[in-house]
């Protein structure tokens, strides 16, 4: 990524969003402690979030008022880092807010520390229900996997009318959470779960798993996991002659899905909070600005990162009205925000720290995500 | 101590006896039906040309190789099937042909390892440094000091890393380590190899002194001058079999033995 590119993009975006800006903010200096897996096996999610956030901050800085800087710390997806990084941000009085987090398990280890030092956190990609209401200082702008999985379950059984579903999930908090919610909702809505099986995150070979699936002859296969595995499952399923409808989660809502899975993911239905095909002006300018800055299409993580940045901007503005922005005032401001507009829809936080929001159901068509033909 | 060695002909009960000892490596018979006995209180020489199987006999006696057949008795008990440590704990100590001291240890520590079987404090006692544990350690250190004096090194080398000593001194450490276990029989595998004449004479004196402590000795050695001077009795091996057995002078004068060493003229 080049700084020049971001600046140029932000300029364009700033123009597009200019009407939204109010110009009463004091010259606050806001430092964001950003942490996610930025290297190692799972760096892609964190780096995407970072890109979205960078774009939002460049735009906020352009707008004037408060200035935003990032202190980025790589957690490499290692749980041991959770506490240390949290303390690093807590101890650094310059840090006003913490953003990022790729893994619920690392956030869970960090939350007690943040809770002690009263530092607000706005996470973008961690969906574990265990994080609901975990601390008054912890918020996230994604829905929990319990909520999302249940919506998908109902959608699959009711709207799509699938009657025999095989459930696959990656063996982690995310995968287990969505699969459980999906299974319960789908069964309640009348579908039969003909089998379920889990795989370890990072698995590449699903042939055996799919051989098992094939033997159960399902109408649909739900993949509770990320795009890297979903793409491989799709491709290997086609290779084994499986023709069932593929369903997946927001973990698969990523432009990389089509790059990796190509023809095999055609027709797969996923859900998520960001839909590149919904042509609102904000989405359109985000898409073009992102493309200009990073010469690639944004993923759902980038969109959530971007929205988190914009939400922070709104909270800072709100807090600045009552004096200098502090951790505490920022935290209060987060709680008061209502329907902050964004590319993933409006943001409002529930008292539990979770976000109130809606899902899009999207299908892969001709190599892009489009609104699924059937909507609930 | 006694200037006169015990008369080998006298019916002293043997401390160690091998009957029909046979060792095979793969299909190869390294030792074939060997009989010999070491009298209590004797310095017994085991000699033979290179490759005759001397070290193999020693390895069989100490449990390093399992004999294919034969009986081994030590101090009145059968030791044939026992493991190395179990045999050692019965009082059969050895040194190695190529000195095998523990690389990173000091002289004192190495010698103390030899006294391993004398320790028995529980882990808890060790952590708490109970009086009993401390007394055992102190006694062992004192005895190690005595042994270092005994082998002629003196206590001042106790803190040196053993492998940094000269070759001759390392050999003495090895002997002290073996003696630390209070053995009844000491097996010495070429203890004089690589030493000059003065050192050899000193080690020979040491071996006599060991015997004077009441420890029997089985000695593998190539230097016949020393063997002649030191041993009460010799067993000569060739091709894994007993070639001769008896009084050193007689054995060494045996043309068959000489031929085994120097080769036969064709």
């Amino acid at each position: 990524m080049t700084m020049k590119g971001i600046a140029a993009a932000a300029f364009g975006l700033g123009l597009a969003l200019a009407p939204l800006a109010t110009s009463t903010a004091r010259a606050e200096e806001i430092t964001i402690g950003f942490t996610a897996a930025l290297s190692g096996d799972f760096a892609a999610f964190g780096l995407n979030m970072r890109k979205g956030l960078d774009l939002a901050l460049a735009e906020l800085n352009k707008k004037g008022g408060a200035t935003y800087t990032i202190d980025a710390v790589d957690d490499r997806g290692e749980a041991r880092e959770g506490v240390l990084i949290a303390q690093r941000f807590c101890s650094d009085q310059k840090v006003d807010v913490v953003m990022g987090y790729s893994f619920s398990s690392i956030a869970l280890a960090a939350v007690p520390v943040f809770n002690d030092c009263k530092l607000p956190v706005l996470a973008s990609a961690v969906t574990s229900p265990a994080l609901s209401g975990v601390s008054p200082y912890f918020r996230r702008n994604v829905l929990t996997d319990a909520v999302q999985g249940a919506m998908m379950g109902t959608y699959a059984a009711k709207t799509l009318g699938e009657s025999k579903i095989y459930v696959l999930n990656q063996q982690d908090d995310y995968g287990i959470g969505v699969a459980k919610a999906f299974t319960e909702a789908a069964e309640k809505a009348g579908a039969k779960i003909v089998g379920s099986e889990s795989y370890l995150l990072g698995s590449k070979d699903f042939r055996t798993l799919l051989t098992k699936v094939r033997a159960a002859q399902p109408d649909a296969i739900f993949i509770g996991g990320f795009y890297t595995e979903a793409a491989k499952i799709a491709e290997q399923a086609r290779g084994l002659g499986i023709k069932a409808q593929l369903l997946s989660t927001d973990g698969a809502l990523n432009v990389e899905l089509m790059k990796l899975g190509r023809g095999a993911v055609e027709g797969m239905i996923v859900y998520g909070m960001f839909d590149p095909s919904v042509a609102t002006p904000a989405t359109a300018s985000f898409l073009s600005a992102y493309k200009a800055a990073f010469s690639e299409a944004p993923s759902a993580w980038a969109a959530l990162g971007y929205d988190a940045g914009m939400t922070l901007g709104a909270a800072v503005e709100l807090a600045a009205k009552d004096g200098p922005v502090t951790r505490e005032s920022l935290n209060t401001a987060f709680g008061k925000l209502k329907d902050v507009p964004g590319v993933t829809g409006p943001t409002t936080f529930l008292p539990s720290g979770d976000r109130n929001g809606a899902l899009y159901f999207l299908a892969v068509k001709d190599g892009t995500f489009t609104l699924a033909p059937k909507q609930p | 101590m006694s200037a006169a060695p015990p008369n080998p002909a006298a019916p002293t009960p043997a401390i160690l006896a091998a009957e029909g000892l046979t060792v095979r490596f793969g299909g190869l018979e390294a030792i074939g039906g060997l009989d010999f006995a070491v009298a209590r209180g004797a310095i017994h020489g085991l000699i033979g040309p290179n490759g005759a199987g001397k070290t193999t006999v020693l390895n069989a006696l100490t449990g390093f190789v399992r004999p294919a057949a034969g009986r081994l008795s030590f101090d009145g008990a059968e030791i044939g099937g026992l493991g190395v440590a179990a045999i050692a704990r019965r009082g059969l100590a050895r040194t190695f042909q190529n000195i095998r001291l523990f690389g990173a240890m000091t002289v004192l520590e190495s010698v103390l390892v030899g006294g391993h079987r004398g320790f028995g404090a529980s882990p808890l006692a060790l952590v708490l440094h109970t009086a009993g544990a401390r007394a055992a350690e102190r006694a062992a250190i004192a005895r190690a000091g005595e042994l270092l004096d005994f082998v002629g090194l003196g206590r001042e080398v106790a803190g040196r890393v053993a492998t940094t000593l000269s070759y001759g001194h390392q050999r003495r450490v090895e002997i002290a380590r073996a003696l630390m276990s209070e053995p009844k029989l000491l097996l010495l595998d070429e203890p004089l190899a690589g030493m000059n004449a003065v050192e050899k004479a000193e080690i020979a004196d040491l071996v006599r002194a060991v015997r004077a402590r009441g420890v029997s000795v089985l000695l593998i050695e190539h230097d016949m001058q020393i063997v002649r001077a030191l041993c009460d009795r010799l067993t000569v091996l060739e091709y894994g079999k007993r070639l001769a057995d008896g009084d050193p002078e007689a054995v060494l004068a045996d043309p068959a033995v000489q031929a085994a060493y120097l080769g036969r003229a064709r």
Partner: protein
């Protein structure tokens, strides 16, 4: 039947890839007795190079770079050749200078090389998976056998290329002059030199061919699963190593057989066991452990290789980097001096740490220091088995996990969730759990240690690695017991008689107390007949045995002690972090701990802490380097480079000269800690 047939076919494809990569391990191990962990990364490099060469353009370090767009065979060939050259270069730079170094040094270096290559690959190719390009063969419809067994054309190509490569290699090794020289060098290097074989060049050839095979396996794997990624080599590398050991490391037909067996067992196990896919990796490690137990040399291996690891992990000449000796001489004098006054130095160190704990103003630095203490303690535990008893253990994290899970399950899942107990009422249980976790882990250690008694050296390492992975996979999959990957949260911070010890400063002092206790207990045992027995086993197992040391029993003691420390620290760790998940106990953590003690100095009390300081502090300080902020993955690349440099110039570890006296402090009639002095009388030299 068609289910079985499909599983069989799946297993064969996977097995073919494993077999090819296993050849790499086996070939190099045969000649230089080195388990080169970096083959996993050469596998990855081969995949990336092929993918890149086939594309019209690739984004490298963020810039779009035009590429030749070769056809698959050409790209694969070029990639294999380039990777082979890279393998030779790695050997030349990182391993050859260490041929005579202590045995662990090249092993650690190979891990460091892995870290560097992986981080560099991520810097160059990015964090996203790179799609393997479509080419004509891959677009053909699948071949369907018996109506139900689907195999893609490329699957057949994979199996055929594996078969051809293995046959080619077998012929090459059997017939060619270089192949013969390779076998001769593997059997007897001295004899090979005497007949005029240039052994260095043969080793280079082994690295070239091995790396080429790893690359070929990577290419086929990338093709089969449709991607290339910087971390793609780790698990297949581990599996290939497992396959090589299964087959009997050093044997080429063994590698082929091991690979196929592993592929089939994984496919069939995953296919027939409930939720088998999640247990797949555990299945292969269970197989490995069972096989090594009944047949330590592997299926087709030679038993003497199991004995080749005999002797000291620390031994061998340490005459490296002559000019650097001066640099370290001062340090060595200092450390050697300090080891003679063990007790005083230990008190000084604790006082210094306590002063730091009082004076460091930042909670962040307190947490860093606490982490240093935790890793230092864990490494001290591992040091008992590796550093003192000389047994290479890659499964130590299992003991750590046992302690952590014991206390977490008791506090959270049983007391809080099960009985609704208010946790502040049962604060005392934490102090009870410390020894309890230790004892449970020690019991597990003895259980796991018993079957390893027949193994030595690298075989032992692989078997313990298998144990560690099995325990971790059980922790992930046995959701009912451990809460699985969700982990256990809400573990209370320690409390002492109503005083909460949750602040970073309190936690630091608690950790310091525990660390002092751990070092004290370890030191008291090491400085006794027990420690002497351990070191004797490490230095010369046979000689120790001949001195009447029952070596098997003392190895188990070492396992137990090591396990105790792991479990003990694990209990504290859970309450410190207040959340644990299986992510905490990965193989990589074990490798880190091993690195810490090798870096610091095996078999010293201070070494684990020296290593922990370097590791933890470097990683934290490096975050602030602007370059690292822009390219996060370079932090680990940098660390890898530092590790390699340290190993090349100081293979025995930084604090190696802080030699531990093995005699009970205060046992002499004189002053405490002067046992040697007591014996030495007054004659000082």
């Amino acid at each position: 039947m068609d289910y079985f047939g499909q599983l069989l076919a799946n297993g064969l494809v996977l097995g073919a890839v494993y077999a090819l990569a296993a050849v790499a391990f086996t070939l190099v191990y045969g000649v230089v007795r080195l388990v080169n962990f970096a083959f996993g990364e050469l596998f990855m490099v081969g995949a990336f190079l092929t993918t890149s060469l086939m594309l019209p353009e690739v984004r490298l370090v963020g810039h779009v770079v035009p590429m030749p767009g070769f056809s698959f065979p050409v790209a694969a060939l070029v990639a294999v050749l380039l990777t082979a050259a890279l393998g030779v270069a790695v050997d030349r730079i990182a391993y050859r200078p260490l041929r005579r170094a202590p045995r662990l040094a090249p092993l650690i270096t190979s891990i460091a090389v892995s870290v560097v290559l992986q981080s560099l690959a991520q810097t160059v190719w990015g964090a996203e998976e790179l799609r393997f390009p479509e080419f004509e063969l891959a677009t053909y419809p699948p071949v369907v056998l018996f109506d139900s067994i689907y195999l893609s054309v490329m699957d057949l190509v994979v199996m055929a290329s594996a078969l051809c490569a293995m046959t080619g290699l077998t012929l090459f090794v059997a017939r060619s002059s270089l192949g013969r020289a390779m076998r001769a060098s593997a059997e007897d290097q001295t004899a090979a030199l005497l007949v005029g074989v240039p052994v260095d060049r043969v080793v280079a050839a082994a690295f070239a061919i091995g790396s080429g095979f790893a690359a070929l396996a990577g290419v086929l794997y990338a093709q089969t699963y449709g991607f290339a990624h910087s971390s793609m080599g780790f698990l297949p590398g581990l599996k290939a190593l497992t396959a090589a050991v299964l087959g009997g490391i050093g044997s080429i037909p063994g590698a082929a057989l091991g690979g196929v067996v592993l592929g089939l067992v994984e496919a069939l196990g995953a296919g027939y066991l409930p939720n088998g896919t999640a247990w797949k990796d555990a299945i292969s490690f269970v197989l490995l452990v069972l096989l090594l137990y009944v047949r330590p040399q592997g299926l087709l291996g030679r038993p003497e290789l199991n004995a080749a690891g005999r002797g000291s992990l620390l031994g061998g000449a340490a005459e490296m980097g002559g000019w650097l000796r001066g640099v370290f001489a001062g340090l060595d004098r200092l450390l050697a001096g300090s080891s003679a006054r063990g007790g005083a130095v230990a008190l000084g160190a604790v006082a210094l740490a306590a002063a730091a704990g009082l004076l460091v103003p930042s909670d962040y630095w307190l947490r860093i220091l606490t982490t240093v203490l935790i890793y230092g303690m864990l490494a001290s535990g591992l040091n008992v088995i590796v550093g003192f008893a000389g047994l290479l253990d890659l499964g130590f994290v299992a003991f750590w996990a046992v302690g952590s899970y014991l206390t977490s399950i008791l506090f959270v899942l049983v007391l809080k969730d099960g009985f609704g107990v208010a946790l502040q009422e049962t604060w005392w249980l934490f102090y009870l759990n410390l020894p309890l976790g230790g004892l449970l882990a020690a019991a597990l250690a003895v259980l796991l240690g018993t079957p390893t008694l027949r193994l030595r050296g690298d075989y032992l390492a692989i078997m313990t690695l298998g144990f560690g992975e099995i325990v971790r996979i059980v922790a992930i999959n046995w959701v009912g017991l451990t809460n699985g990957p969700m982990g256990i949260r809400g573990i209370p911070a320690p409390v002492l008689f109503g005083v909460p010890l949750g602040t970073p400063r309190a936690q630091f002092f608690l950790a310091l107390t525990l660390a002092a206790a751990v070092v004290f207990i370890v030191a008291r045992l090491v400085r006794s007949y027990v420690g002497r027995a351990w070191v004797a086993i490490r230095e010369d197992e046979e000689a120790a045995e001949a001195m009447g040391v029952p070596t098997a029993r003392y190895k188990l003691y070492a396992y137990a002690m090591s396990g105790f420390v792991g479990g003990f620290v694990g209990v504290f760790y859970a309450h410190y972090q207040q959340y644990i998940s299986p992510l905490n106990f990965s193989l990589f953590e074990n490798i880190i701990l091993l690195m810490l003690i090798v870096l610091g100095g095996l078999g010293t009390f201070i070494g684990p802490f020296v290593g922990a300081v370097i590791w933890i502090v470097f990683l934290q300080v490096a975050i602030d380097i602007p370059f690292v902020q822009a390219y996060p993955e370079t932090r680990f690349a940098l660390l890898g480079v530092i590790l390699i440099a340290l190993m090349l110039f100081r293979p025995q570890g930084l604090a190696a000269s802080a030699r531990v006296p093995l005699v009970m402090a205060g046992a002499g009639p004189g002053k405490a800690g002067r046992a040697e002095g007591a014996v030495a009388g007054r004659a000082g030299t």
